[in-house]
Amino acid sequence: MHPWGKWGRSFVGYGTHAARAALADAGLEWRDVGSVVGANTMRCGYPGYVAGATFAQALGWQGARVTSVYAACASGAQAVNTARSQILGGLADVVLVVGADSAPKGFFAPAGGERPDDPDWLRFRVLGATNPAYFALYARRRMALYGDTPEDFAQVKVKNAAAGALNPLARYRTPVSAAEVAASAVVADPLRLLDICATSDGGAALVLSSMEFARRHGHPDPVRIRAVSTVTPTYPKAVLDLPDIATDSAAVVSPAPHSFRASIARAAYEEAGIGPEDLSLAEVYDLSTALELEWYEDIGLCAAGEGAKLLRDGVTSLGGRVPVNTSGGLASFGEAVPAQALAQVCELTWQLRGTAGDRQVPGARTGITANQGLFGHGSAVVAVR
């Protein structure tokens, strides 16, 4: 990875830095790579839309197979899925996956111009509905349905900031108190500035190979990708989601018994042949503190409505039974969109190898990432040792 922050440089530099670090970690040369998959950076014009080729050019053209993918926040997971499919399909032995971003300060905004056929443009033009507005709608609903409080939400930030303080790659490395969360400005009632993740620059990369290749190169017990979930929702999608102005109508067709977010992890568990009881740790997509509590339920760590209790009981903290966001999460990193699903897998890798330093989960054997990309991109990766 490239350390996350506000560095003010091109995404290409962050991505190539992360790529070189991943290759060095794997003990491979760039010329050994048979395929490169780039997760696209939509704010960076032409090079960002063809990220695979952009990174390949920056590293030095060497004739590798190339793919560029975009799936909003799930772009990194789609890139892993593409690489894994190529390896399983026998198209490549070693694939380099790269994602990086150079994000603007403040709210993410849609591309410019008059584009009334774009739902993302419309929700800003017609409603002023920013991403934090949606996070706040979910938070408010949790308060009404389950009795969650702003103090519960603040404790997620306290937990993740404590983990992030132990991670040299995180942008924010200072512990945060509940009082500091409560003293920060309200962004979208009931969420405050420290309940919502920042936008960041950053990059992450992975080297994936076949098991046969890994063993041949002296890695008898590598971290293995056991599942990659890239599911779409099922009609009717009955939970208001970014960038929707309305849900699908459930008057004619009943919604699936589980929400879209829950289906993301379920698909990964099914493919991996494991369940939530097997997890040593999880990295979930904490765009807001309240949303992290929802993920506990959606990845099956507890029943609906019990997320705050799980947090209060210390289950998801470092030292707990299933630590969540041991990296510090987006709370400590901020969003670097095409990189963050890859960063989650980087953290699983270090944890499963036992090289996560002061934030190490003792004896970690199985981990899951969970993420959701705008416009219906599910994303979860199961990795095992």
């Binding site: 403040g106 709210f107 905004a109 849609p110 410019g112 008059e114 009334p116 739902p119 443009w121 419309l122 929700r123 800003f124 033009r125 017609v126 409603l127 002023g128 509905a129 920013t130 507005a133 706040a136 709608l137 979910y138 938070a139 408010r140 609903r141 009404a144 349905l145 400005a185 309200v186 962004v187 979208a188 009632d189 009931p190 969420l191 009609y235 009717p236 009955a238 208001l240 929707d244 102005i245 309305a246 849900t247 699908d248 109508s249 459930a250 008057a251 004619v252 067709v253």
Partner: protein
């Protein structure tokens, strides 16, 4: 004024300034009398009865639809109950239109669940409605509103406001709170 009223998106709601409704072209959209004729407009599939808002005019998106139907315009329910709500304490980026020289006035966003359509529709609350006036489950009603004005147009939209007629909570009448 020479400015004309124009919907911010064509075809999403009925005309609030004529056409036989009782809106009477009021520019004070948030505080006018309830407009029984003002509706959000979706489309309904004639083959499977699925409803879409914002309107879907190309093809039915229900994967279980037998097909062969047509999408016809259908007005949505005027009233529903709050699914969730929030506000915007910071100025949103473009294409939201606001005067950068004027102090930012937070707006309230309300997601309202319509029983008949079994769907949730997001909208801004009428001016003066604050989050402190609202609770999940409260009944809301649809009213015409103004999103912004420029030299040529008054851009109209829909607003949600606490329902009148005794269904809303006491005090939640849209008068704002100090």
């Amino acid at each position: 004024m020479a400015r004309t009223r124009r919907p911010v998106v064509a075809g999403w709601f009925t005309d609030d300034a004529g056409g036989g409704t009782d809106a009477g072209g009021a520019t004070d959209a948030g505080g006018g009398s309830p407009d029984g004729g003002f509706r959000l407009l979706g489309t309904r599939c004639s083959a499977c009865a699925a409803v879409f808002f914002p309107r879907e005019d190309d093809a039915c998106r229900n994967p279980g639809c037998p097909g062969g139907g047509e999408l016809t315009e259908t007005p949505l329910s005027r009233r529903g109950r709050i699914w969730s709500f929030t506000d915007g304490r910071y100025r949103p980026p473009a294409p939201y239109v606001s005067d950068p020289d004027a102090p930012w006035e937070p707006y309230t966003l309300v997601a309202v669940e319509l029983a008949a359509e079994a769907m949730v529709v997001l909208g801004q609350a009428a001016p003066g409605v604050r989050t402190a006036d609202l609770a999940i489950g409260d009944e809301m009603e649809l009213v015409p509103g103004v999103l912004n004005e420029d030299d040529e147009h008054i851009w109209t939209t829909w607003h949600w406001r606490p329902a009148t007629g005794g269904a809303a909570r006491p005090g939640a009448d849209g008068e704002g709170n100090a």
